[in-house]
């Protein structure tokens, strides 16, 4: 394969490419899905191929093929060149890539137990145990469970001389309980995943969680609707991490800031004129980072698809906006070098700026202290729906479950919670972040993130703990 990749780079340069890179990826997925305790879906899916990206006449071209045939590779290189020339038909300036160190490296995520060696029996037994526990609650009429894993082997080679091989293994799971009654259906769910092996699954305590989820789903049928109005809002870490994803992670992607995602994902309120001005993104309690180096983080890797090493970047410091996620193409807009965030879903697609692990850093509160300190409010957990405008300013989130807080105590469960706000006002109203106690802050890996045309889906990570906001509009329809 090494010779094939080198030949593709050689052909590209010979035919006028001022820059070229080739990515070969081979990804094996092994999902097991149960529905109502029965295996609904179990497969092994292998997806492999070559993608070549070139700059010719100052324009980008990309072409990809799953074929292993050298003749097809040559045709794919020719197609990438043809596309780049067509791109140059409509250019306003030549593509310029910021410098990067030339690297020859090989890296592999360490796994304690290879998830691909775990038998289907063991996987399905675990999910059946979850099902059995959940259906002991009579109101639970439907259950779901899934264990997912992938092994990704990626080779990146550039005409500048880099040769990088990396192997990433990810393991995750999801369980759902659906309770039905009185014309209502309520779901409780849990999902998480890590860049690690089967050891991830044992850390998720799925059977124990299944019992709690089933009980909560049944209780939600009887629970009153979440009250409407402006109140103190506490987000549990499982929904706080998605809030970070949607209202911080996406707006800091520099390609969308510059307009490249306009037709689909939209732009950003963090416009280029705000860079370097210490724009007030949130309150002094808000510290956010992008960190692709977190061991086990779903959004971790060793190098991005520009060949830039994984790194940790401060995004928001004491509420002030500091940095975007960048690529070699976009970092130059601010005279910077890339912070290594350019990732493609697979060989078939071009790299886009993607979230790595975007984290709300731990605060100095404990969860108990935060509730005890709340006179009146709503605690919401587990995302059910989320919607944001095309600049990530106005948002509306729905949760699976919520609790009313009065005089520092949780007093009752309520259902169908939702809240809506304006992003900078929302984060400016943040007055407490938990994480003081061990286990309160964790890196979640359950988010499927879609971006680009054609759509590319990746799974970033998000560190978060329970977090509190003041004066937020709560309630469906508000």
């Amino acid at each position: 394969m090494k010779e094939q990749i080198k030949e593709m780079l050689h052909l590209a340069e010979k035919n006028g490419a001022s820059y070229a890179d080739v990515r070969y990826t081979n990804q094996v997925n092994r999902p097991l899905v149960l529905r109502n305790g029965e295996v609904e879906h179990f497969t092994v899916a292998e997806d492999k191929g070559f993608g070549i990206r070139v700059i010719v006449d100052g324009g980008w071209g990309f072409a990809s093929t799953p074929s292993n045939d050298p003749k097809r590779h040559a045709e794919t290189v020719a197609r990438a060149i043809s596309i780049a020339k067509a791109s140059a038909r409509c250019k306003i300036k030549d593509i310029h890539l910021t410098p990067v160190d030339i690297v020859d490296d090989k890296q592999k995520v360490k796994v304690e137990k290879d998830p691909f060696q775990v038998s289907v029996d063991e996987m399905s037994s675990l999910l059946r145990d979850c099902h059995d526990v959940m259906v002991q609650v009579p109101e639970v009429k439907m259950t779901g469970g899934a264990i997912t894993m992938y092994n990704l082997q990626k080779t990146f080679a550039s005409s500048e001389g880099s040769w990088i091989e990396q192997e990433l293994t990810r393991t995750g799971a999801r369980i759902d309980a659906y309770a039905r009654g009185q014309g209502d259906v309520q779901r409780r769910s849990y999902a998480n995943g890590k860049l690690a092996g089967w050891e991830t699954i044992s850390m998720l305590n799925l059977v124990q969680r299944a019992s709690q989820l089933a009980s909560e789903a049944a209780q939600l049928l009887e629970a009153p609707e979440c009250p409407r109005g402006e109140t103190t809002l506490i987000l549990g870490s499982s929904i706080a991490q998605l809030q970070v994803h949607e209202s911080c992670g996406h707006p800091i992607e520099l390609d969308r800031v510059l307009g490249s995602e306009d037709t689909y994902a939209g732009k950003s309120f963090l416009t280029p004129d705000l860079y370097g001005k210490d724009y007030k993104y949130g309150s002094e309690h808000v510290n956010m980072t992008a960190d692709a180096t977190i061991v086990g983080g779903s959004g971790s890797f060793f190098y991005d698809d520009d060949g830039v090493p994984a790194q940790r970047t401060t995004i928001v410091e004491k509420g002030l906006f500091k940095n975007y996620l960048t690529s070699r193409e976009t970092a130059g807009e601010f005279g910077l070098t890339s912070n290594g965030s350019n990732i493609a879903m697979n060989w078939a697609n071009i790299p886009l700026i993607r979230m790595t692990n975007i984290n709300l850093e731990p605060g100095d509160w404990s969860e108990e202290e935060m509730i005890r300190d709340t006179k009146k409010g709503i605690l919401v957990d587990t995302p059910k729906s989320w919607s944001l405008d095309d600049k990530r300013v106005n948002f509306h989130f729905g949760g699976e479950i919520a609790y009313e807080i009065e005089d520092g105590e949780i007093v009752r469960m309520v259902k169908n919670p939702a809240y809506t706000a304006i992003t900078p006002e929302f984060w400016a109203s943040c007055d407490a972040v938990a994480g003081k106690k061990k286990g309160e802050w964790e890196v979640w890996g359950d988010t499927n993130c879609a971006k680009g045309e054609p759509v590319q889906v990746v799974q970033p990570g998000h560190g978060a703990a329970q977090v509190r906001f003041r004066n937020v509009k709560v309630g469906v329809g508000e």
Binding site: P66, I350, D389, V476, G477
Partner: protein, 447 residues
């Protein structure tokens, strides 16, 4: 493109290699050329060629699956071996529905030569024609131009052997007049049927109209006119939540207790028709079963849902040919159509005393699936109508409303239908523009 002969050879190789009681194989391939432009230049431009061969075996009531994207005989045989191996570890399910027997499938010529022959430079030239419109009017053009050629071939060990190839293209245009934007799109199987400059100009007028200022609307309910792509987002929710047999059986669909009842305004008729020539026609589904035309809502009355083979079998019905491929499978509408009315967008505006004009939505979601309470924001051209005229540009709005209420409150539908996709690319739909009485806006944004 994978030709029929090659596809059948691949399918037969898989079937011959399987020792299972039943075997199904789905071959999908896609050649996609996509040009994206932004601020008057092409910034992303690709061609990708993808294949997948999904193999499903049933052996002694145990299901095993494997997917490969390598078409070599050895790789296909390894895929079959993997599927058989996987089946051997799965608990037997005595309630499995047997795979379907072959049924006659119509031949449809899905290849448009004009579209097939479009070169990379041809695409760039068409994009350039739209950028020229922007430059001539001192605005910035952004957009996306996708040209897709896809093949679906399905076979099973009970005699199913089907093949279909088809192509289509879609152009999307945003014109940015400073902070004010306008949007338009067009989709067809024939590139000659799309007037790219007209699409650009349709986006342009929305970026220019009342551009000097955008005002904040008082929240509440307004008569609202939706362009077709916004209608697609509204129909998407019942489309994926409620219009299939499995959600009906699970009680997750509002249709479960509404069959035969009037649930929408009588002006609303929704069908799924894969043979409609203005759509992207498709003669069979991912089980190789012929597509049936399904009347879902007939003049406001709930009439039917779509089925795959298994959900139909369990419901005591025949499949409607709506099985999907991929990880989860199941049934889904694929060719939704809202029947036309007798109005036009211009007439709707004229007939509106005070209302809102919505060009498109962004990132819609559904917090409450049973009542189909959905939310989302408007973008790229939201306007205030007073006394039959557009009088102001509005800052974008968040809506939160029940789609059951929305489709019960239809005032009028346009005579002309348009082929569009929803924001999520879930469905391609043929829908008219629509005017709704008392559509609920629940939030403002700052731009």
């Amino acid at each position: 493109m994978i030709q029929r002969e090659q596809a059948e050879k691949i399918l037969k190789t898989v079937l011959a290699a399987s020792t299972a009681d039943e075997t199904q194989v789905i071959l999908r391939s896609e050649d996609l050329s996509q040009t994206r432009f932004n601020n008057n230049w092409i910034h992303q431009h690709l061609f990708r060629e993808t294949y997948s061969v999904e193999i499903k075996v049933v052996d002694q009531n145990r299901v095993g699956m494997a997917t490969v994207n390598d078409l070599d005989e050895a790789a296909l045989k390894k895929g079959v071996a993997d599927a058989l191996h996987n089946a051997s570890f799965v608990k037997a399910n005595p309630n499995l529905v047997p795979m379907p027997e072959a049924k006659p499938v119509l031949e449809i010529d899905g290849i448009n030569q004009n579209t097939l022959n479009l070169s990379d430079m041809d695409r760039a030239d068409l994009v350039a024609s739209m950028i020229d419109v922007a430059k001539e009017n001192s605005v910035d053009a952004s957009g996306s131009f996708a040209n897709e050629l896809s093949v679906l071939a399905v076979a099973n060990s009970k005699g199913v052997m089907t093949y279909h190839a088809g192509n289509n293209l879609r152009i999307r245009s945003i014109m940015a007049n400073g902070l004010q934007t306008g949007y338009s799109e067009a989709m067809s199987t024939d590139v000659e049927a799309i007037d790219f400059v007209a699409v650009a100009k349709d986006a342009l007028w929305k970026s220019k109209l009342k551009a000097e200022e955008s005002i904040t609307l008082d929240l509440g309910s307004y008569d609202t006119i939706f362009e077709p792509q916004a209608v697609a987002d509204l129909l998407r929710f019942p489309g994926y939540i409620a219009f299939n047999g499995q959600s009906l059986a699970d009680g997750r669909s509002f249709m479960a207790k509404a069959m035969g009842q009037k649930i929408f305004d009588e002006k609303v008729t929704v069908i799924d028709d894969a043979y409609e020539p203005r759509h992207v026609p498709m003669p069979f589904d991912a089980e190789g079963m012929p597509k049936e035309k399904v009347v879902i809502i007939d003049q406001g009355v709930a009439k039917g849902v779509v089925y795959d083979h298994a959900s139909a079998f369990r419901a005591g019905k025949e499949t409607t040919g709506h099985a999907t491929a991929g990880r989860r499978g199941g049934a889904s509408p694929g060719h939704l159509i809202i029947a036309p009315g007798n109005s036009s967008i211009e007439e709707m505006i004229k007939q509106t005393k005070r209302g809102v004009y919505v060009t498109r939505f962004h990132y819609t979601h559904c917090p409450e699936p049973m009542q189909i309470i959905a939310t989302g924001t408007t973008r790229d051209g939201t306007f205030l109508i007073e006394d039959g005229e557009i009088v102001a540009r509005l800052k974008n709005l968040r809506f939160t409303d029940s789609m059951l209420r929305v489709f019960a409150n239809v005032d009028s539908l346009s005579q002309e239908q348009f082929l569009v996709k929803d924001w999520w690319f879930t469905f391609t739909m043929l829908v008219p523009a629509m005017k709704i009485k008392d559509f609920t806006f629940t939030g403002n944004t700052t731009f």
